[in-house]
Symmetry: C2
Subunit: 345 residues, 2 copies
């Protein structure tokens, strides 16, 4: 069997001291990016297997970072995770993920599991439930950096990366009004979560600012599921004065809405226009593509990871937290484009 | 503040001794399923917070199970994970997930990360690369149960849960032949992986069994991506004698194929029929729904989890491994249905 590669072999290969190679492999900040890259790539080529446990013991770190999301199979969260990985892998970290299915007991369990697994930090989007703050204080007590993304809770000292949901919803609703829609319904969701509250408020503000009548009956709280979107729209279409547009806080319920509208023999966007939220890939793939609000999830993940990297090596208490807010982008597609402007002609 | 719930409070509530409650909470096999359920549900109702670290130290277990998948954002893998969770959560386990992006170095890193995180077992689908066996032997050495699902490697003593890919591909190809297709192309993928090799072999066997000419030029190795499906079909349509059907080893490349075929002004299924593999949700959502092979992923996850539960409490060496093979189901939809049989009329 071939002899195992040691740091001395790597040092010889790259012409550096073993101490420098060791520092480079351990992502010591004193080592330049260029040297770190050279050493790590050479180590990989030479099939060097670092004893991660030994590394962890030496540094007091596990080089594991925990990520908690409501669900992994939404493109939005999967893309945030990809952004986190893209930022952390080159620094020697591994990313382990748990999902809460929007259940608070799973969320608590996941946090404890990750803490027991000795992660160096937790990046998370909170569950739909009104999560108790003491779980998060547990994390702070262990001096493990906690960073919220997308769905956050206001906790002193905890950083967050979110998007401007109010503005995303405002733009989406304004666009529907510009297309001539007058009775715009809103498929909302649990508004104890800031993101859904802000989408609702942005929608409402756009209605008011453009002189339309705000009708609370057109706002229905539902879940981010195809079947729920369908069910909700069935109800809306039974109204004496049904809506001529739907702004959904989720692409999944928007898709359900579209299926139901078509089944009832109505045309999209002529009879009813539909706009979703999150820019899930299927919104683009559909024959009738769906207008949606893009939240630049990869960017969000990358930034959350950068905040973690800054915090993990400076565990001072009462540190200043960062609140980063990204701007969303409305992507206009078939499901709402009635008026073709000169620009798009 | 309210007093914290103890096991004595739970014991009083359910009328059992504290020792029995403790055993039930720790999933001691001597406790009946009924009692375990009663105690755990009562504990949850009473907001009992078990000190998982203390539990772990007592039992020598972490109650964390690691799952490794190529990607989490495919519905197939996300559903397998859901099946695993559904089976393991009621037994007190938490599931933590890593993705490999089909890269061998990430796969190795993920395995080490999970082992350092002290997981009680690893359930995984191997990466596209020809993963080295020694990584898996590492796991075996630590006596941590390893179970493969979907994409496996033949390793003595390691159990696996897979589907009969050969049969799935055979049924899909046979269906296309019954629809009158004569030149069926196959979008294959890395055939060093058994699943893709078996899909190729099933396709080939169906062609031969039905007296059609097998043409190797109609088999193209590509990736499971929309853009790759598009690119590959562009090439196929330039052939002097282009195909009249496409059987893709992936729904994602099938979708790309459909987009390209439409862009060239051809009709589906009349000019070219298309069948995918995996039954991703979008195949059903499309206006032109896509025929695909369902792999019952939730069932696969549940069974893999059951195999883990059996193995985790009986860490004997040279144990007999289980090789469980599930049968896939062809779901016929618009993209391939030319001949409406009486049954479907």
């Amino acid at each position: 069997m071939k002899k195992k590669t040691t740091i001395y072999d790597i040092a010889k290969e790259v012409g550096l001291t073993a101490a420098t190679v060791s520092r480079a492999l351990n992502n010591n900040p004193k080592i330049s990016e260029k040297t770190r890259k050279l050493v790590q790539e050479t180590a990989q080529k030479m099939n060097y297997e670092q004893n991660t446990l030994a590394k962890a013991l030496k540094s007091g770190k596990s080089y594991n970072v925990g990520v908690i999301v409501p669900r992994m199979d939404s493109n939005f969260f999967a893309s945030v995770i990809r952004g986190i990985e893209e930022e952390l892998y080159p620094k020697g970290y591994h990313v382990i993920v748990c999902q809460t299915h929007d259940q608070e007991n799973l969320e608590t369990g996941n946090i404890n599991s990750l803490l027991n697994a000795q992660v160096d930090g937790i990046l998370m989007s909170i569950s739909n439930a009104k999560s108790k703050s003491n779980v998060f204080h547990n994390i702070a007590q262990k001096k493990v950096p906690l960073i919220f993304f997308d769905r956050k809770k206001e906790i002193p000292g905890v950083s967050s990366v979110t998007i401007d949901d109010f503005n995303g919803a405002y733009q989406a609703t304004k666009h529907l009004i510009e297309q001539g829609c007058k009775r715009i319904a809103h498929l909302s969701n649990n508004r104890s979560l800031e993101i859904f509250k802000n989408r609702y408020l942005g929608y409402k503000q756009a209605i008011i600012d453009h002189g339309l009548e705000f009708d609370e009956d057109l706002v229905i709280e539902t879940f981010s599921k195809v079947s729920e979107g369908r069910k909700t729209v069935k109800k809306l279409l039974k109204m004496k004065n049904p809506p001529d547009a739907i702004f959904s806080s989720s692409d999944f319920s928007a898709l359900g809405a579209i299926q139901e509208i078509k089944d009832q023999g109505l045309s999209i966007p002529e009879d009813i226009s539909v706009v979703g939220f999150s820019n899930e890939p299927f919104t683009k793939f559909m024959e009738l593509s769906i207008t949606s609000v893009d939240q630049s999830p990869i960017e969000m993940g990358r930034i959350a990871a950068k905040v973690f990297l800054k915090e993990v090596d400076s565990k001072t208490l009462n540190k200043e937290s960062e609140k980063i807010v990204l701007q969303p982008e409305l992507i206009i597609r078939d499901s709402s484009l009635k008026v073709k402007s000169e620009a798009s002609a």
